[in-house]
Every structure is written in structure tokens, then in C-alpha cells.
Symmetry: C2
Subunit: 219 residues, 2 copies
């Protein structure tokens, strides 16, 4: 018995969904949204062995979600196109609206008592035009160099405590990182607030900024 077109199509669609049905692969996708990356550095950041990370990348590639190219001895992976970002946003959007678990996590970890409500892209654009705001990128240096918001200052979260002097205590700060659920900017806001800085988070990260067609510097 031959399978009909409907079964074959749904099998193909399901393979795309299954490819994103893994914690590790979602995290890999978030990192690739920042820019191209090799297997080794991805493996390190996601906390997987190289062989294991390679497997997951193959899986993502078979599902059409990532593409790769060789550069010298390295193979660099990237997202297949910007619609992959839209797909992950759709997933987290459904999760955010309908999973009690997500709400619980937000409440317990991303405590938003002290005005943790994010700044929208539009608002940030207005404020930067008026020169009223320091835009702070708390991602690692290499991600910053691969592209960042115009005029942004880079202080990776891990170096934040040591480099407080670089920030003007009198100006408002807007921090951002990899995406709407990236923890770096949450922690940066908490740390800077504790030291008296006036700081808020951008509602999402660099990939969404770029996807919205806004200008990116240093790419």
C-alpha cells in the first residue's frame, strides 16, 4: 500500500517540528540567530560534546532549518533563512500564552516587580534619537562584533561587575542580548539595578531587531 500525498506531506512537516522539539536544538538555533558559528564553539556554548552537537546540527539541516558552508578547516552553520526565527517566535508565543509552566518560570526567575517591563523597539529608537540612552549589549564580544545595535556599548555579562566604571550613572541604560528569552539581559538589569543604575531591558534581541529591518552595525 502506497502512502498518499497527504501522509507524505504531514510526515515532512512533522520532521520540521520534531527538529525543534529538543531543548538543545532550540538553544543551538538561538545561537545561530546571532550569526554563523562553527561546531566546536557551538558545542562549547550549549554544553554538548562536539560529536553530539554535530549530530544535532545534522538533524537541523535535514529538517531544512540550518545551512552550512566551509571556510578553511571550519564548517560554519547558519539559519536557513529568517523565517526560522519566525517559527521559533511562533513556538515561544504559543508556549507563553498557554503553558502555565512558562508563566511560573517567568514569575520565579524573571521577577518583574521593579518595573521590569521591557522597552519596545520603537521606544528605543525614539530615545536614542534624542541621545538620552545608553544601549548596552551584554553578549560575548564575538557575537557583538558579528552585528549589534547602532551605537551600542558591549560589556559581556561576565565582565559587567568589573567594568561598571564605563557606564554613566546618570544616563538611562537599555540592555539587550540574544532574544526575548535570553537570560543575559535579565541578569544584567538585576545587577545594575542593585547598584543604583536606571536600566531596562529591550523587549527582544538582536535577531528580532535585524528581522524587523532596522539597521545593524558592525556586520
Amino acid at each position: 500500500m502506497s502512502i498518499g500525498p497527504k501522509q507524505a506531506l504531514y510526515a515532512a512537516f512533522a520532521s520540521v517540528a520534531r527538529a525543534l522539539g529538543s531543548q538543545h536544538r532550540l538553544e543551538i538555533v538561538e545561537h545561530l540567530a546571532q550569526g554563523e558559528r562553527g561546531v566546536e564553539s557551538l558545542a562549547e556554548r550549549v554544553g554538548l560534546s562536539i560529536a553530539n552537537a554535530s549530530q544535532h546540527l545534522q538533524h537541523l539541516r535535514r529538517a531544512g532549518l540550518v545551512a552550512s558552508r566551509r571556510d578553511g578547516k571550519y564548517v560554519l552553520y547558519r539559519l536557513a533563512d529568517e523565517s526560522v526565527l519566525g517559527l521559533t517566535a511562533a513556538i515561544s508565543g504559543v508556549a507563553e500564552r498557554h503553558l502555565a509552566e512558562v508563566d511560573r518560570i517567568r514569575r520565579s526567575y524573571f521577577d518583574d516587580r521593579d518595573g521590569m517591563e521591557p522597552v519596545s523597539r520603537e521606544e528605543l529608537l525614539r530615545r536614542t534619537r534624542e541621545g538620552l540612552v545608553t544601549v548596552l549589549d551584554v553578549r560575548p564580544l564575538d557575537e557583538f562584533e558579528a552585528g549589534h545595535l547602532p551605537g551600542a556599548v558591549n560589556i559581556p555579562l561576565s565582565e559587567l561587575e568589573a567594568r561598571l566604571a564605563e557606564l554613566d550613572p546618570d544616563q538611562e541604560i537599555v540592555a539587550y542580548c540574544r532574544g526575548p528569552w535570553c537570560v543575559l539581559s535579565f541578569e544584567a538589569v538585576a545587577a545594575l539595578r542593585a547598584r543604583g543604575f536606571k536600566v531596562r531591558r529591550l523587549e527582544d534581541g538582536l535577531p528580532e531587531w535585524r528581522a524587523a529591518g532596522l539597521p545593524v552595525e558592525g556586520a
Copy 2:
């Protein structure tokens, strides 16, 4: 060692993706996009045992993709909200663009030699205002009754051959069914073309029409 918020969040997001990572569950979602449905009739249409369909529905509910309510002795399931349709569209969009398999299926089954290019919603709206077109809904009667395009005629695909007399051979026909990948309208177009009718497919189905905010009749 406690897991961080990042791991917990990604686990939640992955569970949403995994819930759609099954042929059967994707098909269930397509049916639910037409309107509320009970376990038994869903099981029958998707070709699963009742207990198995119930399991899949629980899985979808845990992932926040469907909701349910009781009506008498029946439990009726529905999509959690219209963003679920956007999520499945994002999945099929990626698959369509990047999976060679999908292209192959389209070529071999949905042969578009004879001008099979679909009619857009906008074009259909224009043509119906001019009264130039018969809108044909080829879904089963109960789905038609749960909501259909304004002025549409319902002839389920299974009855099409027997009810050809109801169609005006001189007027152009636009056929639609459950969604962009629903096979019913493809087959209806092929069958009607073979009999000399001038017929094309709508680019997608009723759920997308409704999601676009266009008027729906009989709901």
C-alpha cells in the same frame, strides 16, 4: 544541581514543538482548525483508535495547543487560539522552502501543469463582487455547516461526480477546502477540469480566510 531558567524555558518550548512533531497530531490540528470536534469523529477522520486519538489530544492539550469543553456526554476540542494556525503555517512554510521532499511531493501529486496556480483571497473577493464566480466548498457537510465562505456552494468531494449537474458549466469555479495543503480541492480541480469545467483552487482554506479577518457565513 538545579536547572536554570533557561533550561526550563527551552524544555517548555521544546514540548510545544514536539507536540506538533507527529503526522497524526498535525492532521488533528488541521481538522480542529475547521471547528470544534469530538474525540470519536476526530479519531474516525484521522484513522486512529479512539483511545489513541484521545492520547494525542491530551498531548496537544498539555502543550497548550488545544483546549476542550464538555457538551453533554461529549468533550469537544478546539485550537487554543488562532496563533496555533500561525505556528503550523510557519512550519509548513519552512518545509516548503527548504525540504526537497516537499517539492518532490508537490511535483508528483499536485501536478500544476495546467495552470494549477491558485487564486488569492484578494482576487477571489474581487471576482465574487462582480458575480463572476462560483465558490465551491468540497469539505464534508458538517465542516461546511460549521462555517464557510460567503455564498459558497457545498459539494463534498466524495459526492462531486454524482452532483455535477448542480454546477454551471459556463461560470468559473473556485474550489477550496481545509487549508493550503488539503488534498480535497486539488482533487476536485483535477476532476472538474477533466470534465471541461473552468476551475481553480483558492490559495488556502477556510481557517486562513477566517484568520485574515474576512467574513464567514453559517458559523
